[in-house]
Symmetry: C3
Subunit: 139 residues, 3 copies
């Protein structure tokens, strides 16, 4: 049984869904040593989140952004408005999507389905970078 | 400390929420050996998902289906429409609900509440079967 | 490698989002012994849930409550109505938000971001207390 943990600082990204599968895997050479285990990707923020979704057609990310912005709209009688109109919807999306994903590890690889990719969901219009904590365990 | 991992192929199911608690537990005789641990159920798809919800009244599953289909409707200006009108809402639901659930294990059993069951959420009208990865760890 | 597991009974809380970071940490003196690991907080109910969100401005919790009550409204043609108008929306919110959160542990502390807190999301108008299962693993 082994534990690895590292942090990953992502550069500023524009509002929307951005695939980060490659950069996550690249940060974890230790993956190759795990026969069976678990990877957690955790985001240390409350107006950005993580999700798994289709990795093939970039149009899907456009529709995810418009869909989530329709489910948690900017036009709503929010009380917490001091940080701008994109802030409170960002908090709602953060809870809808969640701050972490857990992916099983099999024979040195993430056991993702063929069409699954890891996405950073940036909910702010002008965010600075984002911190991820990657925690890998297994045997 | 022990790790077990197995895959479970679910047969095609109709669109909606389907309880799978029994078939998951049946696939894991090793559960009985775990005093304290964690089970992850992970789905390798992006238009179906997993959730925990009420296991008693089947009407709840009807309302979950209609509610999520109202939150992520088919009528919406999606760009990604090539796979049919039920596809892109399925991707939105997949991110709303999530690709995995993690359940604590206590004294050889899943530590679910009395009313909690595991549900496969099928978002497509005509899906083929679905692959789950079950990962159990503990001592 | 060590596993700890304990249960935490929360007293009845009114409908809404309630920060419980302090009471969770207080229940886990064993956290101090973990250099790298993982904490899961799991709720054994289907009309209450857990989330991570902003810990600073209490107005955020007001907006989370109104937003989620707008996404999963009481006025909707539900079939399962026998437990009152706040019950079925509570089940929808439970699946939107999820029954567990997983937080990485680093050097004896939860690796939360500066603004992240753990919230119990109570979806019923008159709930009795809620049971949490806390599972901590690491080395």
């Amino acid at each position: 049984m082994t534990w690895y943990q590292t942090t990953l600082r992502l550069p500023p990204m524009e509002r929307g869904f951005h695939q980060i599968t490659r950069v996550v895997v690249k940060s974890l050479p230790e993956l190759a040593d795990i026969r069976v285990g678990m990877l957690q990707v955790f985001i240390q923020h409350t107006s950005a989140s993580l999700t798994l979704n289709e990795n093939a057609d970039p149009d899907v990310t456009i529709d995810l952004e418009s869909s989530f912005s329709s489910i948690a709209p900017e036009r709503f009688p929010y009380v917490h408005t001091i940080e701008g109109p994109d802030d409170m919807p960002g908090h709602v999306k953060a809870s809808l999507l969640g701050a972490s994903i857990q992916i099983p590890v099999t024979d040195g690889h993430l056991a993702l389905g063929t069409w699954q990719g890891i996405f950073l969901c940036e909910h702010r219009n002008h965010a600075s970078g984002r911190n991820l904590v990657l925690t890998l365990q297994g045997e």
